[in-house]
């Protein structure tokens, strides 16, 4: 339970970065991004929705939007990285790697006994 809570908090802290990353692969609408995240092992089930985050990214001009017809369905709002968003993604990835390395440095000291 505690692990779920920690994972949830970690994900919440970098979900915007993950969204920018999947947008970097190409424009996507809301649910499409959810599917891309899930394909990489990040399920938002158990978390809040991505829509408020997308709204914030849009307001901060980190993404550009356009409405386009999807495959046979209604027009969808496609999100793609803006130049500012690309910069934010690069900076965020650097931050994440630095934080991850520091945390690895601290946690690598811990000897974990793996029981067969």
């Amino acid at each position: 339970m505690a692990n779920d809570g920690r994972r949830s908090q970690l994900l919440r802290g970098v979900l915007d970065l993950c969204l920018l990353a999947v947008m970097g692969e190409g424009p996507a609408y809301g649910y499409e991004m959810t599917k891309r995240l899930r394909a990489r092992g990040l399920s938002i089930v158990g978390e809040g929705s991505i829509y408020p985050l997308l709204g914030r990214l849009e307001r901060d001009r980190l993404v550009e939007t356009r409405r386009e017809a999807s495959n046979g369905g209604p027009p969808r709002k496609y999100y793609s990285l803006s130049p500012d968003g690309r910069q934010a993604l690069e900076a965020g990835v650097e931050e994440w790697k630095a934080a991850r390395d520091a945390i690895d440095g601290a946690l690598d000291l811990v000897k974990v006994e793996v029981t067969p």
């Binding site: 978390e47 914030r56 209604p74």
Partner: protein, 195 residues
């Protein structure tokens, strides 16, 4: 699922989100949920835990997009100076401490110099009390006998004494309140320094 979207619409209406934007958000949401359900999933795949609190979800989304209308005619009043400036209260207390100290000092000076005309005269003017009684001095009726000796004056020191004690009382009260204000802060600071 329509009920979820309708609940969101009601919340957006309540928050003053413009209709075109609310329609756009509702359409995106509906399309995503329908796609998830068509693929064998559920609305939870799209909304996560937000599925269980549509109003909160709707408010969070609209707030994040910055499309909530500002409240009309309920503008919060500008914060008072004491709310904006953290030094306001200490400055006021410091000023009052200074005033209290000066009042106590003035009271002490009045008590010490109450017999002096330099002290008594201004106080007498303030309190509009009769001047000192001068015996046998200039412009005073001479006694019906020949008096050889210096004239002398009796100062009325009552107003000076009253003023001195009033100042002393007020000054001590102000200083006492200042001590009550500063003492806990000094204790906290001492504890912080001692670790």
């Amino acid at each position: 699922m329509i009920e979820f979207v309708e609940e969101c619409r009601r919340e957006w209406k309540h928050l003053g989100v413009p209709d075109p934007i609310a329609n756009e958000m509702a359409a995106d949401l509906t399309a995503d949920i329908e796609e998830a359900e068509a693929e064998g999933g559920s609305a939870e795949d799209v909304l996560g835990t937000s599925l269980f609190d549509p109003r909160r979800f709707a408010a969070a989304w609209a707030g994040a997009r910055g499309v909530i209308a500002p409240p009309v005619a309920v503008d919060a009043p500008a914060p008072l100076l004491r709310e904006r400036n953290p030094w306001y209260r200490p400055a006021v207390v410091l000023a009052l401490t200074g005033v209290g100290f000066l009042m106590t000092l003035a009271a002490a000076a009045l008590v010490v110099g109450r017999h002096s005309s330099a002290v008594a005269a201004p106080v007498r003017r303030i309190f509009a009390v009769p001047g000192p009684t001068r015996f046998f001095g200039p412009n005073q009726p001479m006694p019906p006998f020949r008096y050889i000796g210096p004239s002398f004056t009796v100062q009325n020191t009552a107003p000076v004494t009253v003023l001195a004690f009033a100042l002393l009382l007020i000054g001590l009260v102000v200083l006492g309140l200042a001590v009550l204000y500063w003492l806990p802060r000094f204790r906290r600071e001492s504890k912080r320094r001692l670790g």
